[in-house]
């Protein structure tokens, strides 16, 4: 425009003045030149416009890594969750008969409840590290740091290191955040042996074998701040874990993963409240060793071209604890040997029968096994009982980011009592694209 406008103006201005002196032919030439100028100018303009349009179409310079975080740095992920709970038994006296409680157990409060909401922030720190932080916002207005870790991204030979606070890689379900579980609550075995879910402060080293078959080895060391360990002030380790997982595809539509894990911790002064044989509430304390074995397996069938799927998963947990138990710490305070060998597990199937609908069934079981209390057997029960629970769920997933779930469970964790539990839950995920974890 600026290049042509003055010229065109000058030409136009010069036209009327010499008009009387020029012939008709000259005028024709001038008119033709002007038209030519105009058309050249229009072509230039069109070209500019099309170049502008192309420039607008072009994406911003893409980074090398295929992360979804093109606009957000760090990625922010918020999970909103709430539940309506209807229980036929009072949750205040919830316990799992024969299992010393720890961590978060039980079905939660009755009525409308906010469940755990989560706020997560994550980003690459530099070319070597990635950082991630997840706050858990509890319904009682407390905020806790669920995970806060750094993770190496560029270690060679299939190695990766995590340091900070993270969910342990033992078993299958443990590493997955609660909002990705297929049922409202953790399986009974997870509640009894891991206090719901085991996370610790420490380091984790994972090694992925260079084989076609997926083979991953994990080693963890931590302070053991959570059940089954206890927070303690010492230089050494409070917990350690080993895990080995393998998996692959079976043909076009099926895949599986399985593994074994081992979690060792040395609780010092783990306390809990329990009713003695006389029915009075007393506090007990345990110091000793805790060794937990886990075996996990998951199989998925995801036929191609259809948005239906089936998955079957199960885990088996076996725990051995030995040490000394102090009965009634506030009163008698009698200490003696304490030894338990207990086990449990769950088996579940989830069928996605329509793209947005899934139905699932889970069976939980526990075995109180052997409980040796020494002289404390005079005051404490060592019941032989098999707590069990059956859960049935139906959920609706209108999109990848939202889920509404109805779950009915018959809980027989308390000897002689059956708790019929009904949950209606929502889980919403905002922000960063949720990962399609296996």
């Amino acid at each position: 425009m600026p290049r042509f406008a003055p010229l065109a103006l000058a030409l136009a201005a010069s036209l009327p003045l010499p008009a009387f002196a020029v012939s008709e032919a000259d005028l024709q030439t001038l008119r033709a030149e002007l038209a030519q100028l105009k058309s050249a100018y229009e072509t230039r303009l069109k070209d500019l416009e099309s170049r502008l349009a192309r420039a607008e179409e072009r994406p911003a310079p893409a980074s090398n890594a295929a992360t979804p975080a093109r606009t957000l740095n760090p990625e922010i992920a918020l999970v909103l969750s709430g539940v309506y709970t209807n229980l036929t038994q009072n949750p205040a006296n919830y316990r799992i008969t024969g299992f010393a409680p720890g961590g978060e157990i039980g079905p939660g409060n009755r009525g409308f409840n906010l469940s755990e909401s989560e706020l997560g922030l994550a980003a690459n720190i530099d070319e070597r590290f990635r950082g991630s932080l997840t706050f858990a916002l509890a319904p009682d207005n407390t905020v806790s740091t669920e995970e806060a870790y750094l993770q190496t991204t560029a270690m060679p030979h299939g190695l990766s290191l995590k340091a900070g606070r993270f969910l342990s890689g033992i078993g299958y379900l443990n590493e997955h955040h609660a909002h990705t579980w297929d049922f409202v609550d953790a399986p009974l075995a997870y509640q009894a042996f891991l206090g719901g879910q085991f996370g610790d402060d420490g380091v984790q080293l994972k090694w992925l074998a260079p084989t076609e078959q997926f083979l991953e080895l994990g080693l963890e060391m931590g302070r053991g701040r959570n059940f089954p360990g206890t927070n303690q002030d010492k230089n050494g380790l409070g917990s350690g874990a080993l895990s080995l997982h393998t998996g692959s595809d079976l043909g076009r539509d099926q895949s599986w993963r399985g593994g074994v894990s081992w979690l060792a911790s040395s609780p010092r002064g783990r306390t809990w409240e329990e009713n003695n044989l006389a029915g009075a509430a007393v506090n007990n304390r345990f110091t000793g060793q805790s060794r937990l074995w886990l075996a996990d397996f998951i199989w998925k069938w995801q036929p191609e071209g259809r948005r239906t799927s089936l998955k079957v998963q199960g885990e088996y947990l076996h725990r051995r604890e030995s040490g000394s138990l102090t009965y009634d710490t506030a009163g008698a305070a009698s200490s003696d040997v304490y030894r338990t060998v207990q086990s449990g597990g769950y088996l579940q199937g989830v069928y996605q029968f329509l793209p947005a609908w899934r139905i699932g069934l889970r069976q939980d079981w526990l075995d109180t096994g052997t409980i040796s209390l020494g002289s404390n057997a005079a005051n404490l029960a060592a019941p032989a009982f098999r707590p069990a629970k059956t859960s049935l769920m139906l959920d609706w997933n209108p999109s990848e980011f939202s889920r509404i779930r109805l779950q009915y469970a018959q809980d027989q964790s308390r000897q002689g009592l059956t708790d019929n539990q009904l949950f209606l839950q929502y889980q919403m995920s905002l922000g960063a694209h949720p990962a399609h974890a296996y």
Binding site: P59, R70, A154, G158, R252, K300, Y438
Partner: protein
């Protein structure tokens, strides 16, 4: 013949070198790698034509394959947002080649709101439906491969030149064949064809999905039917991996032909490589027009 000789020479000159391992997110990029690198590289394809590349889980087999990859070749533009970053975290980060970064994208959303469905901030990622895109992508990918194996750079250049020449010739042939498709009105199941529409001059008059990635409900389909009756299209297009229910529903009510396009290599019996992919795509479109 010259290429063949060069190849033979190169095969002889570096026999002991371990083959490059390429992790391709979608079959079209696996096919392109094969065009540009021949049989010397090992290519693992993470998804098949019958799978929606968005709805894939980070399966153990994918993690294991990623672990051994020297280069990851993907569409990008968030198509693999659900699983690729996770695989890269589990298997250690790898160099990633994003095809979508090599071409201008269409449908870049003016606003990012999940109420609009599964929108991709970078633009529509289904770039493989326009064969013209393969020229800049092949050029950049060939350079990338040559960077990984500098001692074979000459061979990569030769292979690329050969591919580009064959592709140019094919493009001319396809554009001649596709002339009758210019201006044809279509209905699409998913907003998966904007690049092909632009290439062939097809006119999209309706979309069966109310929002990207959302299954159409009865109310929305009724609206589409009304729209279609007002502005009658000639064809209904869907990708081979998509369920045909919604398209068949509309076809029954309107008598229109449904064209299931291979969409990527392996999406139909005939689509065995990049060339036959577009041959078959055009054959199907032209056959449905008759």
């Amino acid at each position: 013949m010259k290429t063949l000789l060069t190849l033979l020479f190169l095969a002889w000159a570096w026999p002991a070198q371990a083959a490059l391992q390429i992790f391709a997110c979608e079959p079209e990029w696996a096919a392109l790698v094969r065009e540009l690198a021949g049989e010397r590289v090992r290519v693992f394809t993470a998804t098949r034509a019958s799978q929606d590349p968005h709805h894939v889980q980070a399966r153990p087999s994918l993690t294991a394959a990623m672990r051994n990859a020297d280069l990851v070749v993907c569409t990008g533009a968030e198509l693999e947002a659900g699983w690729l970053p996770l695989l890269l975290r589990q298997a250690g980060s790898k160099p990633v080649f994003e095809a979508a970064a090599q071409v201008p994208l269409l449908e870049i959303p003016a606003r990012l709101d999940r109420a609009d469905g599964d929108v991709h901030a970078a633009g529509n990622p289904h770039i493989q439906t326009d064969p013209r895109h393969f020229l800049p992508i092949a050029a950049a990918l060939s350079r990338r491969l040559a960077e990984l194996e500098p001692e074979r750079a000459q061979d990569y250049r030769a292979r690329h030149a050969d591919f580009a020449a064959r592709w140019q010739a094919a493009l001319q042939r396809w554009e001649r064949q596709a002339a009758p498709l210019n201006g044809v009105a279509i209905v699409v199941q998913h907003k998966g064809f904007p690049y092909m529409e632009r290439w062939l001059g097809l006119k999209q008059v309706a979309v069966l999905e109310p929002r990207p990635g959302v299954e159409p409900g009865a109310a929305h389909l009724a609206k589409v039917l009304e729209q279609v009756q007002r502005q009658p299209p000639r064809l209904i297009l869907r990708a081979a991996y998509q369920e045909g229910r919604a398209s068949e529903w509309l076809a029954q009510r309107t008598g229109l032909a449904v064209v299931a396009l291979p969409y990527t290599v392996g999406g139909s019996e005939a689509a065995q490589d990049l060339f036959s992919l577009f041959d078959d795509t055009l054959t199907r479109l032209l056959a449905a027009l008759k």
